[in-house]
């Protein structure tokens, strides 16, 4: 399953780039993109607007949006000092601090991480400076999430954050970040791997049948409405009879000269799909 990972900074990305063996995409200059096989990682830059832009850039043209995973991975602050630095958390609610708008990731996937709510701020947050109702804070998630769900199914969008500080100026330095990310890579990979297997939204018409329908639509120059109707009847035929659409092969060879002929043939085909 194709995976698109969005991180804010290179320090967050580097251990993942190495782990997946990703190579920099030379075609992407302004927004750094790293790829290998079906895995793509984008370094967005800090802040929700940059995250939204990078997410849109990465997902707008994916081949199979229904079967693509999008993951926002990065560092976050945590107000609860009991939670250890370096813990990977699964975000179940994202609040945009500026708009007070909430987003709720779909949590179908069973995982072993602790869950938390998160608020995205426009600036760095220090203890006592903001009233917080969330467990975690970051600067990207509320940009990433609505952008990702605009392109791919809700249940395929994940936000995984690593606790880097307790809202104090004392933060992890780069080697420490790397060490903490490397320490949680296994947990990260387990989530990604399980998410890839949690297949949703299967396509009703596969392979050869899809090709037959496409041929037929082109050969008969069907209208958009007729294409929808044909698909509907075809799905009905496939699931009622547990058969492929081979009965439509002969019609793919036919040509039509005008609308009347097309409509007549369309009626014949739909009748065949309904009555058999």
């Amino acid at each position: 399953m194709p995976k698109v990972i969005i991180t804010a900074i290179h320090e967050e990305a580097r251990p993942l780039i190495e782990n997946f063996g990703l190579k920099k995409d030379p075609h992407s200059q302004r927004i750094p993109v790293y790829r290998r096989g079906d895995t793509c990682l984008v370094v967005s830059g800090t802040g929700k607007v940059k995250s939204a832009i990078a997410t849109t850039y990465a997902l707008a043209n994916v081949e199979s949006p229904k079967n693509t995973l999008a993951i926002n991975f990065g560092l976050c602050g945590c107000r609860d000092t009991e939670r250890p630095l370096g813990e990977l958390v699964f975000i179940n609610k994202i609040t945009d601090a500026a708009t007070r708008r909430d987003f709720y990731p779909e949590i179908i996937l069973k995982h072993n991480l602790r869950e938390a709510s998160l608020t995205t701020f426009d600036n760095q947050v220090l203890k006592g400076r903001e009233t917080l109702s969330s467990d975690m804070v970051d600067m990207e998630a509320s940009g990433f999430f609505p952008s990702a769900t605009a392109f791919i199914p809700l249940e395929n969008v994940y936000c995984l954050k690593l606790i880097s500080d307790h809202l104090e100026d004392l933060k992890l330095d780069n080697p420490m970040i790397r060490e903490k990310i490397e320490a949680c890579l296994d947990a990260f990979m387990v989530v990604i791997s399980s998410a890839s297997k949690l297949k949703s939204r299967p396509s009703p018409i596969a392979g050869n049948d899809a090709s037959i329908l496409n041929q037929l639509c082109e050969a008969l120059k069907l209208t958009i409405t007729q294409r929808h109707q044909l698909q509907d009847y075809a799905i009905g035929y496939i699931i009622r009879h547990q058969k492929s659409l081979d009965l439509l092969h002969p019609y793919c060879e036919q040509t039509v000269k005008n609308k009347t002929e097309r409509n007549r043939l369309f009626k014949t085909i739909t009748h065949a799909l309904r009555s058999q």
């Binding site: 709720y104 779909e106 996937l109 809700l154 249940e155 939204r201 299967p202 799905i235 699931i239």
Partner: protein, 338 residues
């Protein structure tokens, strides 16, 4: 390997719902569930981009306060059994079952279950509706298990019990609790009450196993209904929806025979027959989301934005099933949805 969470792994709790006893009860039932605080249940329930069947893999519970529309006038797609003051309410949205033909898939954007916890407000609205009912000569007929299956959830959310007790305190109220569950035991300690109708939806076993996912087998539903009759409850049988499956005559003949082998026909309050029907827009939405059930793709006709088998087939099915039922019960007891 199963990659999905179990049902009710997460509780979404409206701030306004936090202090209600039902909320506290449900929190105590799921101590390990993740709790997520929300402002309005619609923020979760009506999120864009949800996929009903994907959510059925791991249903979440949303606890909310219903602020308006605490009681509705009866829908044209439901039977009123001759009661002019037909109303229904929505104590819970959605159902633990997952029937292929269920209209809820097209009506709601989410498969998650919303439990409205402000029961007293519902009682108050019902009291007003009783007082203001259009026909004072007949009681307010209220279906409380309408867009859900309350009895299936009774062990978790004991609303049937609360409403039965409420009906004992209120004259001029008749409530119907419709179910596919076999959970009568959850009510069996209560003395029967003549202002309550327990209604079981029955389908041939072949339909149950193929199209009524997660529901109890026919035999267990019949055992539950038999026990309720035996205890003195007023029991309705609903052959609804009747599906136009290839061997429908034989399947429904066997169903009716088996029903009256298990239940004393003379003690059944009444019977309803309803051929499959659905709002055309709902069916369209469902078909956009799923293509795994032939029942959604049978050739149907659409009349006045309602989809159902062709009239000729409907007439044939209604006549056949009514005739079979009339061997056991008086014609007057059978309500046919035309």
């Amino acid at each position: 390997m199963h990659y999905g969470h179990s049902n009710f792994s997460h509780l979404y709790i409206e701030r306004a719902a936090e202090k209600y006893p039902m909320t506290e009860h449900l929190l105590s039932r799921f101590p390990k569930a993740e709790r997520i605080c929300i402002d309005n249940y619609k923020d979760v329930f009506a999120r864009p981009g949800q996929h009903f069947q994907t959510q059925k893999r791991s249903i979440k519970l949303i606890l909310a306060v219903k602020k308006d529309n605490l009681i509705y006038r009866g829908s044209n797609n439901a039977q009123d059994f001759g009661y002019s003051n037909f109303h229904y309410n929505a104590l819970i949205l959605n159902c633990v079952y997952n029937c292929d033909y269920c209209y809820l898939q097209g009506m709601y954007p989410s498969a998650n279950i919303v439990v409205f916890v402000n029961t007293e407000a519902y009682f108050s609205a019902t009291g007003k509706a009783i007082d203001q009912r259009a026909d004072p000569a007949t009681p307010l007929y209220l279906a409380i298990s309408y867009d859900t299956d309350l009895l299936a959830l009774e062990s978790l959310v004991p609303y049937c019990r609360e409403w039965i007790e409420y009906s004992r305190r209120k004259d001029n109220l008749l409530i119907e609790i419709r179910t596919k569950s076999a959970n009568y035991r959850a009510l069996s300690d209560l003395p029967p009450h003549n202002q309550v109708v327990l209604a079981w939806s029955l389908s041939p076993e072949s339909v149950v196993s193929r199209y009524e996912i997660n529901t109890p087998p026919l035999e267990r539903r019949l055992e539950s209904a038999a026990q309720a009759i035996n205890d003195g409850w007023s029991v309705r049988l609903c052959f609804d929806p009747v599906l136009l499956i290839p061997n429908w005559r034989e399947s429904y003949r066997q169903l009716i025979e088996r029903t009256f082998e298990k239940l004393p026909a003379e003690k059944v309050r009444d019977i309803s027959i309803g051929i499959f029907r659905m709002n055309a827009e709902y069916l369209k939405r469902i078909k956009k989301q799923r293509a795994d059930s032939d029942i959604l793709y049978f050739p149907y006709e659409s009349n006045d934005r309602v989809v159902s088998p062709y009239q000729k087939e409907k007439d044939e099915m209604n006549t056949e099933i009514s005739t079979l039922l009339e061997e056991y019960v008086d014609k007057e007891k059978i309500a046919v949805w035309m």
